[in-house]
């Protein structure tokens, strides 16, 4: 049986080979990176246009919005880079190809997710970091070591929430023949993440905090760095929510893996 260290070694071995293989699709990588760049740019320009006609959004300035968005871009990268395979789960299940993941003496989620490594997510990560640096300079934020550590922890928690939402939605394919609507919904809901939760009222704010906790993806963490005075005590729950949600997601995945009976062959 593999130890944690061996899993990590194996991961690097597989990804190094995978990236080498992907190098022949360099054009694909470049085009999708450019695409991703422009789609982020589009969101940012919506902010700019919006702020041309209004001075602030529920009390949040343009640069603050950019900061929240940059945080979101960073937080979503691990999901895109490491868990990209989740989008292919339903095909593998429908075709019966998923059966092969049971044959190796490995954790099935590890084996499945290690089969893809999304390089263009790295471009997004870099863009997010640059944008975060730019907005925090413009906002005059200072970064003592303690704050940097909290930032890392916050990114980690937010990533876990995003990964959980994607994997949980993907896992529905174990039970539903056409799981596309579930994935599409999860993908849509995620789009609310880079906005201040305070612009939503009552029921939505409650839902985005406690039911589909996308508030923890970007807003609550960013609030800590932007307006520490207004910080919701919920922020301190973020790591717990991230880890708890991922544990729950893993349970759901495991249930799916164990109850899937495959296709006759």
């Amino acid at each position: 049986m593999l130890t944690l260290g061996e899993y990590i070694r194996l991961y690097f071995l597989i990804e190094a080979q995978y990236i080498k293989g992907q190098m022949q699709y360099r054009a694909d990588f470049l085009i999708s990176s450019v695409g991703m760049f422009f789609s982020s740019l589009a969101t940012l320009s919506i902010f700019v246009v919006l702020f041309n006609s209004i001075p602030d959004l529920a009390g949040w300035s343009l640069m603050e919005m950019v900061f929240i968005y940059a945080f979101y871009m960073i937080a979503i990268s691990p999901m895109q880079i490491l868990f990209d395979a989740v989008w292919f789960l339903r095909y593998k299940i429908q075709s019966g190809e998923f059966v092969k993941y049971y044959f190796r003496p490995m954790n099935i989620m590890f084996y499945f997710m290690s089969e893809r490594f999304d390089l263009k997510g790295l471009t997004q990560l870099a863009a997010g970091i640059a944008l975060l640096a730019y907005s925090s300079i413009r906002l005059g934020l200072v970064w003592p070591v303690g704050k940097v550590l909290i930032l890392i922890l916050a990114v980690f928690s937010a990533s876990l929430v995003l990964i959980s939402i994607a994997v949980m939605a993907g896992s529905s394919a174990f039970w539903v023949v056409n799981s596309y609507p579930v994935l599409a919904l999860a993908w849509k809901v995620r789009e609310f993440a880079p906005y201040p939760i305070t612009i939503f009222d009552g029921i939505f704010r409650f839902a985005f905090t406690f039911i589909l906790p996308i508030g923890f993806i970007a807003f609550y963490p960013a609030q800590f760095f932007l307006r520490p005075a207004e910080i919701s005590p919920l922020f301190y729950l973020a790591p717990l929510i991230g880890i708890g949600l991922f544990a729950l997601t893993y349970k759901v995945w495991d249930l799916g893996v164990n109850s899937w009976t495959g296709t006759g062959s």
């Binding site: 049986m1 593999l2 059966v99 044959f103 089969e115 006759g264 062959s265």
Partner: protein, 340 residues
């Protein structure tokens, strides 16, 4: 010690009866309208280390389902199943260490990687040491000349080449038992021959237990001493291949296309064959939907050449094919008491 012990093993699937349209889909969500398929129905068998067992039967007999239970993917509905003393479903990872699996035409190589890189990843997963790894690859190369394929990506290999690599990969960690589910499906004669010699050699030199399902009775004849025949989830026969060999070894089917064929031709054929070759000629005649007349001949009783010559001189035959007896016919003959 027995490697695989199976006692009264069953597996059924519950299948939702789907209804049409949107209304139907909503109804399906809440309905308990299930139908059960008994895929494996109370089988018992024991397999010893080093055996090569042919596990055969017609489509839908339950072969793959049995293998999925033995490899720990499916949980049995009832019965006892132990591999190496452990329950596969509860010990999947541990069991996977001592097993090799090749499933139909689905490759387990990393699709975009050169074959050799897949092998190296497997080496890490199973913790095969370098010396053993080199030794294995050397041996495979000698047997089937694999080296030329090493630098190719799995997705660029032909079906037969990929199957060779997949089988090689399944033996890489020197497993105690290898399951091969239809390893020769869709392959040509020369690759089939290579695969057969590879399997035999690995079994001989390493005493690896092999469980093979196939629809190609040639595979069974070439590889197995013991065969298990399963149909509708139940074992029909388990034993020495010699006894059943006669069933598919001696039988051949002549497929004929007879000019101006009519019901009367069939009757005439029947009568004249009996007249010429006597009552115990062991020849059966059947008409297939696609206008062929199937004449199945037991060569132990009547030489095929004589029957063919007789038919050719007495009827106008437009086309002839000779085929080996099919799995379905073997099973039918067993039901008809051929082994009693």
């Amino acid at each position: 010690m027995t490697l695989i012990h199976i006692q009264g093993l069953s597996k059924h699937f519950k299948i939702l009866n789907r209804h049409e349209g949107l209304k139907g889909a909503v109804r399906d969500l809440f309905s308990g309208d299930y139908r059960t398929v008994q895929a494996v129905d109370g089988i018992s068998l024991d397999i010893e280390p080093g055996e090569i067992v042919g596990y055969i039967g017609p489509n839908g007999a339950g072969k793959s389902t049995t293998i999925k239970m033995m490899t720990g993917i499916l949980k049995p509905s009832a019965g006892v199943l132990q591999v190496n003393g452990l329950v596969p479903y509860d010990n999947r990872i541990r069991q996977a260490m001592i097993m090799g699996v090749v499933f139909g035409q689905r490759t387990q190589l990393w699709w975009d990687l050169p074959v050799i890189e897949s092998f190296k990843i497997l080496k890490e997963i199973y913790k095969v040491d370098q010396k053993m790894f080199d030794e294995h690859l050397g041996m495979f190369h000698e047997l089937v000349g694999l080296k030329a394929l090493y630098s190719q990506q799995a997705r660029t290999l032909s079906l037969g080449q990929r199957m060779l690599c997949d089988i090689t990969a399944s033996f890489l960690h020197n497993p105690q038992v290898v399951f091969l589910d239809e390893p020769t499906i869709g392959l040509d004669v020369s690759i089939k021959a290579k695969i057969r010699s590879l399997i035999l050699e690995l079994n001989r030199t390493r005493n690896t237990t092999i469980i093979l399902t196939t629809h190609d009775l040639g595979d069974v004849e070439a590889l197995c001493r013991r065969i298990i025949i399963i149909d509708k989830g139940k074992i029909l026969y388990d034993g020495d291949i010699k006894k059943v060999n006669a069933l598919f070894g001696a039988y051949r089917t002549l497929k004929l296309q007879i000019k101006d064929y009519s019901e009367a031709t069939l009757a005439a054929l029947q009568d004249r064959l009996t007249g010429t070759f006597g009552a115990g000629h062991g020849i059966t005649i059947a008409q297939t939907e696609d206008c062929w007349t199937d004449v199945t001949i037991d060569q132990a009783r009547t030489p095929l050449a004589d029957v063919l010559a007789f038919i050719m001189t007495n009827f106008t035959v437009e086309d002839v094919r000779i085929v080996e007896i099919s799995m379905e016919n073997v099973v039918r003959k067993i039901y008809d008491g051929a082994l009693k």
